[in-house]
Subunit: 89 residues, 4 copies
Amino acid sequence: MTDKIALEELKALGWTTNKDKTAIHQSFKFKTFIEAFAWMTQAAMLAEKNNHHPDWSNSYNRVDVSLTTHSAGGITKLDIELAKAFSGI
Amino acid sequence: MTDKIALEELKALGWTTNKDKTAIHQSFKFKTFIEAFAWMTQAAMLAEKNNHHPDWSNSYNRVDVSLTTHSAGGITKLDIELAKAFSGI
Amino acid sequence: MTDKIALEELKALGWTTNKDKTAIHQSFKFKTFIEAFAWMTQAAMLAEKNNHHPDWSNSYNRVDVSLTTHSAGGITKLDIELAKAFSGI
Amino acid sequence: MTDKIALEELKALGWTTNKDKTAIHQSFKFKTFIEAFAWMTQAAMLAEKNNHHPDWSNSYNRVDVSLTTHSAGGITKLDIELAKAFSGI
């Protein structure tokens, strides 16, 4: 669904794909809960701005992010762009 | 680890326990991502204030919250109090 | 710069203009700081989404919002739309 | 109301007092609105945790913070501590 070049680029930014390549993941770690949640706030604003939202979980100082385009059943340009935006925070 | 009365009280607020009663859960649903994240912001402030933090995940307008006291390996007063605070948002 | 109808509509939503009609204002009051800041978080996401941002201040449970288009030196459609979005939170 | 040593320490962290020394101020500047608001989110959590809240305003990438203890009519230990916490973000 997405070209190889884009996925290679994301790999360089720390993102991995799941087995069947339907989603990309990254785990972000911070010093404290406060820092983790501040990062989530920035990510939430970028998500809302892009009209595309992550599936994510948080446990204290860790944020696990998963990006997929549910309507397409896989990774699309929307995920690539949001992933890059998240990596740019 | 926690008395029955407290758990009954939480049940009335929509919280459920897992099978081995080591954690309490609740799924919160909102109209939009923005409303879901605003709720999370309030919850984050209450969590930080209580020095006790949820394991939680978010997918668009849904927030799944799990509370447990990792150091105690089960539900403690800290979870009961944070659960009540979350239900009061 | 903006038509009268739009300003009348905003007036009905509680917004007022300053003397020289270069900005619109509204003061929002909440029960607690937490609720005030959760409202600000929603407003911040809407602002970022609209690529237009408020001049605002917060003191405990009060949020004072001022909207103007600096580049235009007055109220524009951008302010009208953000004001409506804020009133819809 | 506060000892000189504490105020000197804050000065080194970029805080200034107003003329009649009833409040301390600092202006924080960021690259974007998103970064400014993420900083505010961290500060909001620290404020709520300390049960003491800033008077602050935001305009795009700038956050102006003023700290005073209204009930005491001046600067107290509460302000000193919150100022340090904000500077530590």
